[in-house]
């Protein structure tokens, strides 16, 4: 037996095995890009076909949405009106109501949980709020349509108000409750990231806790909170089941929360769940709405991430 020399060149196993494995893993990661491309291409191609039937200007600026029947004989596209403004209006109205409900509730509970609550209270309130986030939206929709909407209608009639049974208010309020945990948990993180030294500085000057929160912590956490509100708004705009079940399909152009409105997502569902020729303007319009929804929510998300990242850098 001869003394073997050290051979630093000899690989333990053929290197191609490792390279192949890494390549396969990399392909799986690349799938994410493929999915995004798939979304953009599928939405875009159908949307372009839609704009071949209905002019883009009518879609973006038209004040009338009624894909079922022609309003006028000379109507472009001849099988309905495709002005998305009432849908955008309805989506924004319901989302605004949801944000009006969720922002104060979510922020107040985040502040209370991070600044006041004892450890034991946190340990059961936080999971309880997370349950609220885990309830499927179809359940919220059912509850909104069959319990909250009649309740609001009844309360309204006692106050002498005429409230539609599919009011924007009912859908908005329930959606607001749904996004409370989203806002509260994101804001909680942001508030906790505010350095303790700032709290000490304020308390050391003799500020009360609420003064510290209002004058020091909230201003310091503001960018992060703004980011979390943007994410919540994006969630509200993209929410589907609650509005499908509780907001209905009446494309009213109104800012009155007691009236029925419809949203982009509710219309997509109604356009694509009936039996439809795949090529009709009606079906294709759903993809145009989907593209609009995708672009809007994407912008909100990107903006939110940029704000939050910038905010993190400030305190790292």
């Amino acid at each position: 037996m001869s003394a073997s020399k050290i051979d630093l060149q000899r690989p333990v196993r053929p290197p191609w095995i490792d390279r192949a494995i890494i390549t396969i893993l990399g392909l799986a990661a690349g799938l994410a890009i493929l999915v995004t491309l798939g979304i953009i291409l599928s939405l875009l191609s159908e949307t372009i076909r839609f704009f071949g039937k209905v002019p883009i200007t009518e879609f973006l600026f038209g004040l009338e949405w009624s894909p079922q029947t022609a309003i006028r004989a000379d109507q472009v596209g001849s099988d309905g009106a495709f002005g998305a403004i009432p849908l955008i209006n309805g989506t924004l109205l319901i989302s605004a109501i949801a944000m009006l409900v969720a922002t104060p509730l979510g922020l107040a509970s985040a502040i209370y949980l991070s600044e006041y609550a004892t450890k034991s209270m946190r340990s059961w309130v936080k999971p309880a709020l997370e349950i609220l986030a885990g309830i499927p939206t179809v359940v919220y929709g059912f509850f909104a349509a069959l319990t909250v909407a009649p309740f609001i209608r009844m309360t309204g009639s006692q106050l002498g108000l005429e409230i539609s049974s599919e009011s924007a208010l009912a859908a908005g309020v329930v959606m607001g409750i749904m996004i409370v945990p989203l806002i509260s948990s994101l804001s909680d993180d942001v508030i906790n990231a505010v350095p303790q030294s700032l709290r000490d500085a304020s308390m050391g000057l003799g500020a009360t806790k609420s003064e510290t929160v209002r004058h020091v912590i909230l201003p310091a956490a503001l960018p992060g909170i703004a980011g979390s509100l943007l994410l919540a708004a994006s969630r509200a705009i993209g929410e589907t089941m609650i509005v499908v079940m509780a907001a209905g399909l009446a494309a009213n152009l109104t800012l009155n929360p007691l009236k029925a409105v419809t949203t982009i997502t509710a219309q997509i569902v109604s356009l694509l769940t009936g039996d439809q020729a795949f090529d009709s303007a009606k079906t294709l319009s759903a993809f145009a709405l989907g593209l609009l929804l995708f672009i809007v929510t994407l912008c909100l998300n990107v903006a939110a991430h940029l704000i939050v990242r910038k905010y993190r850098e400030q305190y790292d």
């Binding site: 500085a201 050391g204 020091v216």
Partner: protein, 253 residues
């Protein structure tokens, strides 16, 4: 010598079951600088934070004993910590300006305590405080820039200006120079010496040289006990206790 402004008697402080201070008796004279020195973990910061009850913010922290400022028991039930902290200010280890403008940093205490009644009075107090903190000449033309844009030493002087704006009787300083370079430290030390005319200052420091340079009295803490207190000169040149001797000569630390 006049009556001491702060008189601590038999002070014990506990973190949950762990005792951090053991029967501390300490008198602090008015309008002097008193240094608290000792190795890390000796309880000097805990004692400092007990004076303006910042320890209350730590839920597991308990206080036992008597701590009087100007004859008032700080831990009496009638004491309002907000009022206490307004009159016993604090400067922290790391400069911690609020992420707001220089002006708002100084105005904050004045605003929450409603100490000024007009804009011009507020501006006057801000200017006066910044001048007292020796910062005015450097920031007079950029009061609306964020406090965080200043250098470390400037930030710490801003924090001092913020504290003295409220005109407390006592200023507690918790290693105020530990995060600063030697030049910034020298500026702050000079400032502390000037502030002595108007305020009673209690300063925790890990630097014996600093204690020797700026304080009139020095208290040495070790393992949660007050070992020795006396005039700075006496403590550093002729300590009574052997442990003090060991510490100042670098044998324990």
């Amino acid at each position: 010598m006049s009556d001491p402004i702060i008189r601590a008697q038999n002070v014990d402080v506990f973190y949950a079951d762990k005792q951090a201070l053991f029967g501390v008796d300490l008198k602090i004279e008015e309008k002097q600088v008193t240094s608290l020195i000792g190795p890390s973990g000796c309880g000097k910061s805990t004692f400092l934070r007990a004076i303006n009850r910042m320890n209350d913010l730590i839920p597991i922290c308990r206080f036992r004993g008597s701590l009087k400022i100007d004859g008032q028991d700080v831990y009496a039930p009638a004491v309002d910590v907000v009022s206490l902290r307004a009159q016993v200010g604090m400067v922290f280890q790391k400069p911690n300006p609020f992420p707001k403008s220089i002006r708002e940093n100084v105005a904050y205490g004045l605003k929450i305590h409603r100490l000024t009644s007009s804009k011009s009075e507020l501006d006057g107090r801000i200017e006066h405080s910044l001048k007292s903190a020796g910062l005015w000449d450097e920031v007079a033309d950029r009061l609306d820039e964020p406090g965080t844009s200043l250098s470390g030493g400037q930030q710490q002087r801003l924090c001092i200006a913020r504290t003295i704006a409220v005109e407390p009787r006592v200023i507690l300083m918790d290693e105020p120079c530990s995060a600063l370079d030697p030049i910034a430290t020298a500026v702050i030390e000079e400032l502390i010496d000037k502030l002595r005319r108007d305020f009673t200052i209690v300063i925790v420091t890990h630097s014996m040289q600093q204690a020797a340079r700026i304080s009139q009295r020095t208290a040495f803490f070790h393992l949660g006990k007050l070992v020795e207190v006396g005039s700075t000169k006496q403590v550093f040149t002729n300590p009574v206790e052997e442990r003090t001797q060991n510490y100042i000569t670098g044998r324990i630390g």
